[in-house]
């Protein structure tokens, strides 16, 4: 019973992660990129929860809280950067940052 759940959960996490990564790669809108990254973070969170439940230990949940905290911090920084980007270029297209050359 447990094995079925862990397989499904991990598969779901992998799919979510790939969707998120694809979103980061193809989107030029920086807000949508941030959303995609949030999806990726939650995919890792799901993987931690699934693993924690599989081993019957609390570590997975602790890690999940850490990931959520990380996500919140990342969103704060990311939105700040988005604001600056918008102020400078009057758009949220991330390719504008090409000019930084590196």
């Amino acid at each position: 019973m447990n094995t079925v759940i862990i397989d499904h959960a991990l598969l779901l996490a992998a799919i979510l992660f790939c969707i998120g990564l694809l979103g980061v790669l193809v989107r030029r809108n920086i807000i949508l990129m941030l959303i995609s990254m949030e999806v990726m973070l939650n995919a890792t969170g799901l993987a931690f929860i699934a693993a924690g439940s599989y081993w019957g230990q609390a570590d997975g949940q602790i890690m999940f809280i850490a990931v959520v905290t990380l996500g919140a911090a990342e969103v704060a920084v990311g939105l700040g950067l988005t604001l600056l980007l918008f102020k400078r270029y009057n758009s949220v297209d991330v390719d504008n940052l090409k000019q930084l050359r590196g």
Partner: protein, 616 residues
């Protein structure tokens, strides 16, 4: 007391270290104290050592300081060897050197690089003393290269003018040709004799080789090559006139009184080797006589005061070589000494004149200085008398000895003697010409004579030595050379020969005075006549030697370098630079600022790493 011999090179070296470590931050009076004082202390030590050495009637004294390097049987030491020859040289180097340093402390005082000047000259004196005191040829070579380095540094002292740097480089490269020959000579000597300790090598060489041995001649020829380069003799004399780019005290110290006579010292030091090879002795004499004739003719056409003096230096060293070649060893050293007196005097006085005329060196822009610069005029006159060898100035005694020895020697003879007398005639011609043009005739330009103790005292001492130094040595106090060189009877050529040799300079003075002093004949008209004009151009260019070397060596080398630009040696550096360019282009393509590309690359790389870790 004699054990303190090491102090003689040590004081100048200490001065050098002090000056170089403070890198010109010291106040100027201190710099003078250290720069000139160190040479003064060395001179004082020399005097004390000489007193002890001579009063005890010693032949030689050896002081082993430490072993320099050791490889099998080859262990040259840092050892000093003092004998009459070295002592005579020490007198010239530290004594005349000290006077020139005092003068230089006045002459160079306003230069922004005043401390650097004394740094170099102190190192020079240390190296020159090392050269003279060296007990083996390796240590001698160290000093030899040291003085070459200092000569290079001091010729290019005012390095901001590219012409001075060029002159310095020329001097360095041309003397290097001689130094290479010298080094090969040393290798060859070591191979055959098995030691480079001078005294030991001479004894072994005499046992090993008989007269006219081919190997001995070859070694002598190579040593002569080194001497010729350092002493600016044919065919390597071209660097010395250009060396006048340096400050005038340097010209006096290095390019007249001391360093350029190192070649003379080298041959005198190894005279026992040269005695084994009469052919090479003859070659030395021929080199000397050709050089003194060539530079005599060239000096007659120059218009730069310092270049006239430079050519006269070459010519006087030619006399020393002639003396060495005819076996008149002590006469050569005697002439070296008197030459140091009057040539240092001439150069330093020329420095005063040049400074008075706001750095004007063209003699045709001088004129009439006799009234405006009376004291330098008198001093310069004394120097000229010494150079012409008018009795009883010091130059007369030494040159007289050389001419007499030339007549009687087996490696000399009447023909060589005739060349030397003609050279003496030329010397009188160009010296009188120089004096008349500079001091007589119409005045032009304003003068501003530098005054002070430092500008006068050294000149007066040198003038005194140039006047009576010769007669003093000739009559009262012999140079301590009798123990060093093989004795022989004093040459007594026929009276008529002696009279001719003494009278010729006076003839030269008279003719030259008619041309340039009284202007009975017009020198310009004579020089511009159809016959003389090409000759004048030829002499003026130093017998077209520079042109010849340019054509023979520089041009072909440049041509070869040009056509050989892409040879196989270049393949490796070229390939590495091409590889760097390609890699650089590829890597810079990845750095395009596309944030999404970076994410993609990072993702792919992470995937690859996971794949490797999990499945391999």
């Amino acid at each position: 007391m004699l054990n303190l011999l090491w102090l003689v090179p040590f004081f100048p070296f200490l001065g050098f270290v002090l000056l170089v470590s403070t890198s010109g931050k010291m106040p100027k009076p201190w710099t003078t104290m250290i720069g000139a004082g160190s040479i003064g202390l060395a001179a004082l030590t020399t005097a004390l050592i000489a007193y002890e050495f001579l009063s005890q009637d010693m032949t030689s004294f050896q002081l082993h300081l430490w072993t320099w390097m050791e490889a099998g049987n080859f262990a040259p030491g840092f050892s000093l060897y003092l004998d009459g020859l070295a002592l005579s040289m020490l007198f010239v180097i530290t004594g005349v050197g000290f006077l020139i340093h005092i003068y230089a402390s006045g002459y160079m005082y306003d230069d922004e690089d005043f401390p650097r000047f004394f740094t170099y000259t102190n190192l020079f004196v240390a190296a020159m003393v090392m050269l003279v005191l060296a007990d083996n040829l390796v240590l001698l070579f160290l000093g030899w290269e040291g003085v070459g380095l200092c000569s290079f540094l001091l010729i290019g002292f005012w390095y901001k003018d590219p012409a001075n740097g060029l002159a310095a480089r020329k001097a360095f490269v041309v003397t290097r040709v001689g130094d290479t020959a010298f080094a090969i000579g040393l290798f060859l000597l070591y191979k055959h004799v098995g030691t480079l300790d001078i005294q030991e090598a001479m004894i072994k060489a005499k046992l090993l080789w008989t007269e006219d041995n081919a190997t001995a001649s070859l070694i002598c020829a190579l040593l002569l090559g080194g001497a010729v380069g350092k002493s600016a003799q044919l065919p390597l004399q071209t660097w010395l006139p250009d060396a006048m780019a340096g400050p005038t005290p340097v010209s006096a110290l290095i390019h007249a009184a001391t360093m350029v006579t190192a070649g003379v010292y080298l041959i005198a030091r190894n005279h026992e080797l040269f005695l084994l090879s009469p052919d090479m002795m003859y070659a030395v004499a021929v080199v000397g006589v050709l050089t003194l004739l060539m530079s005599g003719f060239t000096a007659l056409t120059q218009s730069d005061l310092k270049r006239v003096l430079a050519y006269s230096t070459i010519s006087q060293i030619g006399y020393m070589f002639l003396a060495l070649g005819v076996g008149a060893w002590s006469s050569a050293i005697f002439h070296l000494m008197t030459h140091a007196f009057f040539k240092a005097l001439l150069f330093l006085t020329a420095g005063t004149i040049i400074l008075s005329l706001h750095h004007e060196q063209n003699i045709f822009k001088m004129g009439g200085l006799v009234k405006r610069l009376p004291l330098p005029c008198i001093l310069f006159f004394i120097g000229c008398l010494g150079l012409i060898a008018v009795p009883p100035t010091s130059g007369f005694w030494s040159k007289e000895q050389i001419l007499n020895a030339t007549w009687e020697s087996s490696t000399g003879g009447p023909l060589i003697w005739l060349g030397a007398v003609l050279g003496a005639f030329m010397t009188a011609l160009y010296t009188t010409r120089m004096f008349c043009i500079v001091f007589l005739g119409p005045s032009n330009g304003d003068v501003h004579e530098p005054k002070g103790f430092k500008f006068v005292a050294p000149l007066v001492v040198l003038a005194f030595l140039a006047l009576v130094g010769g007669v003093f040595v000739e009559t009262a106090w012999q140079l301590p050379l009798s123990n060093v060189f093989p004795g022989g009877h004093a040459p007594h050529p026929p009276t008529v020969i002696v009279v001719i040799a003494i009278a010729t300079p006076f003839l030269g003075i008279a003719i030259s005075y008619l041309f340039y002093g009284k202007r009975v004949f017009s020198a310009e008209k004579f020089a511009n006549s159809a016959l003389m004009k090409p000759l004048k151009t030829f002499f003026d260019s130093g017998w077209a030697m520079d042109w010849f070397y340019d054509l023979l060596l520089v041009k072909p080398y440049q041509w070869l370098a040009k056509i050989n630009k892409k040879d196989c040696v270049n393949l490796l550096p070229d390939a590495s630079s091409a590889a760097a360019k390609i890699l650089h282009a590829a890597l810079s393509m990845t750095q395009n600022g596309q944030l999404r590309l970076y994410v993609g690359v990072m993702g792919t790389a992470a995937l690859f790493v996971i794949f490797v870790v999990v499945f391999l």
